[in-house]
């Protein structure tokens, strides 16, 4: 038996570290890594609640989130490489093509 709050606190810690990473990093690849941390925190919650409620739907959704995260990383890195090829930088503070 595991106390549910233990798993939820682990997940909360990972999520807030991910929030810090997204806000503080300038390198686009590092920002993507921090986003992965946040997605992992969500997955951990899904699996913990799935075991807590004895309902497998949570684990099925965790698997879907993992698949979508894989697609997101693929597209995200392709965009980063494209930006690097065109602008010679992947510093998210300098990439402001879409800024109003």
């Amino acid at each position: 038996m595991i106390r549910l709050p233990l798993a939820l606190l682990f997940s909360a810690a990972l999520f807030s570290i991910g929030v810090y990473g997204v806000l503080a990093r300038r390198n686009a690849v590092m920002v993507l890594m921090a986003i992965e941390l946040m997605l992992n925190a969500v997955n951990l919650n899904l699996v913990a609640f799935s075991q807590y409620l004895a309902d497998l739907a949570g684990q099925v959704f965790a698997l879907f989130v993992i698949a979508v995260a894989a697609a997101e990383v693929g597209i995200g890195l392709a965009i980063v490489i494209l930006v690097y090829r065109n602008r010679e930088t992947i510093n998210v503070d300098e990439v402001n093509l879409l800024r109003w």
Binding site: V19, N40, Q59, F64, G74, I81
Partner: protein
Amino acid sequence: MGRRGEPRVTPQEVAFGIVALLGVGAALRLVTARNVVHAALYLVVTLASVGAAYLVLAAEFVGWVQILIYVGAIVILFLFGLMLTKAPIGREALDNQQRGLAALVAVAVLIGLAALVLAAFPWSEARVQTVHVRTADVGAVIFSGYVLPFEAVSFLLLAALVGAVVLARKDEGER
């Protein structure tokens, strides 16, 4: 409330605590590392410890999928991304000026989430029964109740594959 004779801290909790500390420590190093490749290696440790946490929670299939897809595939993608983009190394190059503000927001998020969690699930009451989940059961749930999302995910992966190839390839005649 622990009943008399029942151990207050179960072995699974000790294992989960160790895994969680490892994961949080590696995640902290990940967002503060000055070398991008080191950060990717800390990402491996964090993702593996989340996978280990799934295994401790007895969610075997999700745990191994985590190891296979995240540690095996996504980290490799990240390493390729780092090596194809010449990333400057050092604190000023990697972190922006709003570090302090970002840390403040992150701590606020952590405190808010922890307060919510502990208010909703008192520390000594809510317990996860670590019943071993067989892969066959997960498969039965996916293919009985979630066939349409499953097909949508496969379509999404195909679209992402094609999209990534189209975005990242060099066109003929371009340089």
